[in-house]
């Protein structure tokens, strides 16, 4: 698989930044989980996020496809976190000969 083909496969699944969850809201989520109230935890998570929408596949495709964890910062909302790149064994893209 070439890098171009790998990136096309990655982009077949849309990924969007949700925006950061503030610490106070994260604490509410943790409290709900400790109480076993999963619905309340999910709601607190959803309500606490400002939303962003940045195409996260741009982040993935700009980085190495090496199966390793990488840090990133969302260029739209500034959220810093980590993701794990997909592992692809990439072939060289064939050079295209042309005569002008």
């Amino acid at each position: 698989m070439t890098r171009t083909e790998a990136e096309a496969q990655i982009r077949q699944i849309p990924r969007r930044c949700r925006g950061a969850l503030p610490e106070a809201e994260r604490a509410k989520v943790a409290d709900a989980l400790r109480a076993g109230d999963l619905a309340a935890a999910r709601l607190a998570d959803a309500k606490g996020r400002p939303g962003c929408g940045h195409d996260f596949n741009d982040v993935v495709c700009a980085g190495p496809l090496d199966g390793k964890m990488h840090s990133y910062t969302c260029p739209d909302c500034g959220l810093s976190a980590t993701y794990t790149a997909p592992l692809y064994v990439l072939e060289e893209e064939a050079p295209v000969a042309a005569e002008n």
Partner: protein
């Protein structure tokens, strides 16, 4: 009738390793669910059915000292039955046979918080990454669960898969690259190929242009990262499948 939330059900994968050598992932197991939340404190396990029910219940967990304990109790219908052992964490609850009608609740102590529900046709509840441990170096493990659309005819469209909570911040998730996949990995230390793992800050679509047809399922790989020499923890994470319906 539109798809309702109860149509979207989370199930275990068939290969649920308890060690770092066995196969992980595989096909869906619609008799098992990864749906046990952890106890707040050490307690006996209480089980209770919603009707006539004398099935056996096998409980596996850890006592306060961390030792694995296993026992079997017998349901007594709508009367609560308590385990003999006290558990600091429960690893699995397995019924001896299936029932198409009975629902069994698993509680933290007598009359306590419900920590799991064995719905009709479900025979097992399992936590993920059972018996996994940190080591001198960072340990990354991979197991799989499924979300299935159990609606009889309707497709879930614009479907999104999200890690909605991750109390310990050690989980990332990634969808299989195709729907209805039975992909597995040789062991849970082996990463599935071509899967992008993201945390709770990213919502992802599902394969097949975000359409989960009736009876279709999407495999979701779970990545657990334990830092070097990490302390013991009991934690809960949640995933969510959402979408549109007519």
């Amino acid at each position: 009738m539109s798809i309702v939330s109860s149509d979207l059900v989370c199930y275990c994968a068939a290969s649920r390793p308890e060690d770092d050598a066995s196969t992980s992932g595989g096909a869906i197991d619609t008799a098992s669910q990864p749906a046990l939340t952890q106890f707040g404190t050490s307690a006996k396990v209480a089980v209770i059915s919603d009707g006539t029910d004398t099935r056996s219940v096998t409980i596996e967990g850890r006592d306060a000292g961390g030792a694995i304990q296993t026992e079997s109790v017998t349901l007594n219908g709508t009367s609560e039955v308590l385990s003999t052992n006290t558990y600091s964490r429960v690893l699995s609850i397995v019924l001896g046979s299936s029932s198409g009608t009975r629902t069994v609740l698993v509680k933290e102590g007598s009359g306590g918080t419900v920590r799991g529900t064995l719905a009709p046709n479900i025979t097992g509840l399992y936590i993920m990454f059972r018996k996994s441990a940190s080591a001198g170096t960072t340990q990354v493990r991979y197991e799989k669960l499924f979300w299935q659309n159990n609606n009889g005819s309707l497709s879930l469209t614009s479907a999104q898969m999200t890690l909605t909570t991750d109390a310990a911040s050690d989980i990332q998730i990634g969808c299989d690259v195709a729907l209805n996949s039975s992909a597995s990995v040789a062991n849970r230390l082996t990463a599935p190929s071509s899967v992008v793992f993201v945390g709770d800050n990213v919502a992802q679509g599902i394969p097949s242009s975000g359409v989960l047809a009736a009876a279709s399922k999407v495999g979701v790989w779970i990545q657990e990262t334990l830092a070097a020499n990490a302390s013991a923890l009991t934690s809960t994470f949640t995933t969510q499948l959402a979408g549109q319906t007519v």
